[in-house]
C-alpha cells in the first residue's frame, strides 16, 4: 500500500475527570472543559484551530442526534469544517486517526479532535442493552443483549486454548485499579487485591464485576498539527509516527480459523497447531498493530515499544491484547501479567493511568483519553497533570494506543514518539 504523508504531531491534550454521573455539566460543557484544558496548556486560542473531528458512540445515550455539531458551536468552532466519527468502542481511536489524516493530507494545519459520552443518562442495564445493539440484531442481540457475554465467550476459549487463568485476569484488574490511585482524572481508583476481584459478583463466566470496565460521563480532547504549526505553537510536540487499523467480522460466530499474521519477531514455528483467530484472539488487533509497526519501522515491538494504552474493557481483553500487539507470543499473555511485565516498573508498562477498567470508559472519549495520557507520558509531563510522578514511565520514547469496536470488528493502533 502506498503510504507517504506529511508528519503529524500532537501538541496538546485535555481531559475532564471521568465520573459515574455528571448531571451538572452536559456533553457540550464537558467537551469545552477538555478543550479549554488543552488550549490553556499550550497557550493557543480556539481561533488557531483549522477544523475539528468529533467522536461519540451512541445517539441513544442522550437521545440527541448530531451532537457533534452542537458541541462544535459551543466551543467556538462554528464556521470551521467538522465531522463526526463513530465506530463503537474504537470511536475515539478512529477519530484520532481521522484528525491525523486531516493534517497528513494537508487539508488542515491544526485539527482538534474531541470525544465524549454521557452514559449516566440511562440506567446501567439499559446501557448494556444499548451497547449490545452494536451486535447483529438478527442473530446476536436477541440471545441476551450483553457485550460482556461476547467477551466472556472469547475469554473462555482463550483459557481453553492457552491455559489462561481467572487469577491472571484478576492481576490485570488489580494493576489498573491500583495505578488509578495516583490519577486524579480516574473514575474508580481502588486499592484491591486478587481475592477482591475473584470474589466480586460473577457477571458472565469467567468475568466478574471487577474484570469489567465502567460506564462513564466524560470528555477528552487532542490538538494535532503539521510540522510548521507544531513548531510555532509548541516547544515539546509529540510525533504521531504511524497509524494502523483493521477490521473483522461483526459476528463472533463468523470468525475464521487460519494462520497468524506474523510480526517480524515471530516465526511460523511459534504457532504450528494454532487455528487463528477463532474466538480466542483479535485478528483485527494484530493486523492493526502489524500495519502501524511496519509504517513506523518497528521490527520488534517487545523491545521497541516502551509503554502502551491498551483496550482493557475486560481484563481478558488486555491479556489478549498483549499477544495481539506482539508484546509476547500468543498464549503467553497470562504469563506476561504474572511476571509483572505490564506493571508501572515492568519492561512494557500498560494502562499506567488505570485504563478503561479504572480511569473510565466514556466510549467516544476513550481513544482520545488514551492519546492524551500517552502524550503526557511521552512529554514526561505526568507530574504536571497528575500532581505526582508515580505513574510516569521511565522509558518514554515510543508508546502505542489501541482500541476496539465490538469484539474487535474495528481496531486501531497508533504509534506515538517523543521528539
Amino acid at each position: 500500500m502506498a503510504y507517504k504523508s506529511r508528519n503529524v504531531y500532537m501538541i496538546s491534550g485535555g481531559l475532564t475527570k471521568f465520573r459515574k454521573y455528571n448531571y451538572d455539566e452536559d456533553f457540550r460543557l464537558n467537551v469545552k472543559n477538555a478543550v479549554d484544558y488543552a488550549l490553556r496548556d499550550i497557550k493557543m486560542d480556539i481561533g488557531d484551530i483549522d477544523g475539528s473531528v468529533s467522536a461519540y458512540f451512541s445517539d441513544h445515550f442522550l437521545g440527541q442526534l448530531i451532537a457533534g455539531a452542537m458541541t462544535n458551536d459551543y466551543i467556538g468552532m462554528s464556521g470551521k469544517p467538522s465531522k463526526r466519527i463513530e465506530g463503537g468502542g474504537a470511536t475515539g481511536g478512529l477519530a484520532f486517526q481521522t484528525a491525523y489524516e486531516e493534517i497528513a493530507s494537508g487539508n488542515m494545519e491544526t485539527c482538534l479532535v474531541y470525544g465524549f459520552e454521557n452514559m449516566s443518562h440511562v440506567n446501567t442495564w439499559r446501557g448494556n442493552d444499548l451497547i449490545a445493539l452494536g451486535s447483529d440484531s438478527n442473530f446476536d442481540y436477541p440471545l441476551g443483549g450483553f457485550y460482556t457475554a461476547y467477551y466472556a465467550l472469547m475469554a473462555t476459549r482463550h483459557m481453553h486454548e492457552f491455559g489462561t487463568t481467572e487469577r491472571q485476569m484478576a492481576l490485570v484488574s488489580v494493576k489498573n485499579h491500583n495505578n488509578a490511585l495516583h490519577n486524579p482524572f480516574a473514575q474508580a481508583p481502588m486499592k484491591i487485591n486478587v481475592d477482591d476481584v475473584l470474589n466480586s459478583p460473577v457477571v458472565s463466566t469467567p468475568l466478574k464485576m471487577l474484570d469489567i470496565c465502567l460506564m462513564s460521563d466524560g470528555a477528552a480532547a487532542a490538538i494535532l498539527a503539521s510540522e510548521d504549526a507544531a513548531k510555532s505553537f509548541s516547544d515539546k510536540p509529540v510525533l504521531i509516527k504511524s497509524i494502523g487499523a483493521s477490521s473483522d467480522t461483526m459476528r463472533l460466530a463468523d470468525r475464521t480459523f487460519g494462520d497468524v499474521p506474523l510480526l517480524p519477531n515471530e516465526t511460523k514455528n511459534d504457532y504450528k497447531n494454532l487455528k487463528y483467530p477463532g474466538v480466542h484472539s483479535f485478528k483485527a488487533g494484530r493486523l492493526a498493530a502489524k500495519m502501524a509497526y511496519e509504517r513506523a519501522g518497528i521490527k520488534n515491538p517487545e523491545k521497541e515499544v516502551d509503554f502502551a494504552e491498551l483496550y482493557d474493557a475486560y481484563t481478558s481483553a488486555e491479556i489478549q491484547a498483549y499477544e495481539d500487539m506482539g508484546f509476547c507470543r500468543y498464549g503467553d499473555g497470562g504469563k506476561f501479567i504474572e511476571e509483572g511485565r505490564p506493571n508501572i516498573d515492568g519492561d512494557i508498562p500498560v494502562n499506567m493511568e488505570g485504563g478503561l477498567q479504572a480511569s473510565g470508559h466514556a466510549i467516544g472519549a476513550t481513544g482520545i483519553m488514551q492519546a492524551v495520557y500517552a502524550f503526557w507520558q511521552l512529554q514526561g509531563n505526568i507530574s504536571r497533570h497528575f500532581g505526582n510522578n508515580n505513574l510516569q514511565v521511565k522509558n518514554h520514547n515510543t508508546g502505542i494506543i489501541h482500541s476496539h469496536a465490538g469484539t474487535g470488528a474495528y481496531e486501531t493502533v497508533t504509534v506515538m514518539e517523543a521528539v
Binding site: Y23, N123, W125, N128, L143, A149, M154, L252
Partner: protein, 150 residues
C-alpha cells in the same frame, strides 16, 4: 407524550425523558433462516466458489461476494465456547441466569451462537455434544432454536 412528568432532581434540573421506538424489523434476505426454524430446520450457507460452509446463515459469501446456497446444518454439534450470564441487558435481565454457547458442526467451517438450556447451567464444557431443539410456538427470533446436551 403528555403522560406525566417525573422530576428526579431540581438542581440541576433532571427529569425523565421517555422515548420509545417500535421498530418494523424486516429479516429481509435472512427471512428464510427464521421461517425454517418453525419447520425444525437450521439453515447455514455454502459458497460454491470458495467451498466455504457457514454455520451462521448469510446470503453472500464474505470472501468472494458470490451468492451462497442454503444448506441444512446438522442438528447436533459440539460446544466451541460458552458463558453463563448472571446479568444482561435490560430486556433480558429476567431471563438470567442463562448460558450462551458457540456451536461447532462437523464439516462446517464457522460457528453458530445460541443458548444452551440445561439443568442449573452446570457441567458445561468445551467439546460437550449438544443438539438443537426448536420452540413449538415460534416467536420469530433467533431463540426459536436453542441447544440442549445431546
Amino acid at each position: 407524550m403528555d403522560r406525566y412528568t417525573r422530576v428526579m432532581k431540581t438542581d440541576p434540573l433532571v427529569k425523565e425523558f421517555d422515548y420509545n421506538i417500535e421498530y418494523i424489523h424486516s429479516y429481509a434476505q435472512d427471512s428464510k433462516f427464521f421461517t425454517s426454524l418453525g419447520m425444525g430446520i437450521l439453515l447455514g450457507s455454502e459458497c460454491k466458489k470458495c467451498n466455504y460452509r457457514y454455520g451462521t446463515y448469510r446470503k453472500y459469501c464474505m470472501f468472494c461476494g458470490s451468492e451462497t446456497d442454503d444448506i441444512n446444518l446438522p442438528l447436533t454439534g459440539k460446544i466451541h465456547s460458552f458463558t453463563t450470564c448472571y446479568y444482561s441487558g435490560e430486556n433480558f435481565i429476567n431471563e438470567t441466569p442463562y448460558t450462551l454457547i458457540l456451536v461447532e458442526f462437523e464439516g462446517i467451517d464457522s460457528l453458530f451462537m445460541s443458548r444452551l438450556v440445561n439443568k442449573e447451567n452446570k457441567n458445561v464444557y468445551i467439546g460437550m455434544p449438544v443438539r438443537a431443539k426448536f420452540r413449538r410456538l415460534q416467536k420469530f427470533d433467533v431463540n426459536d432454536v436453542y441447544f440442549v446436551p445431546a
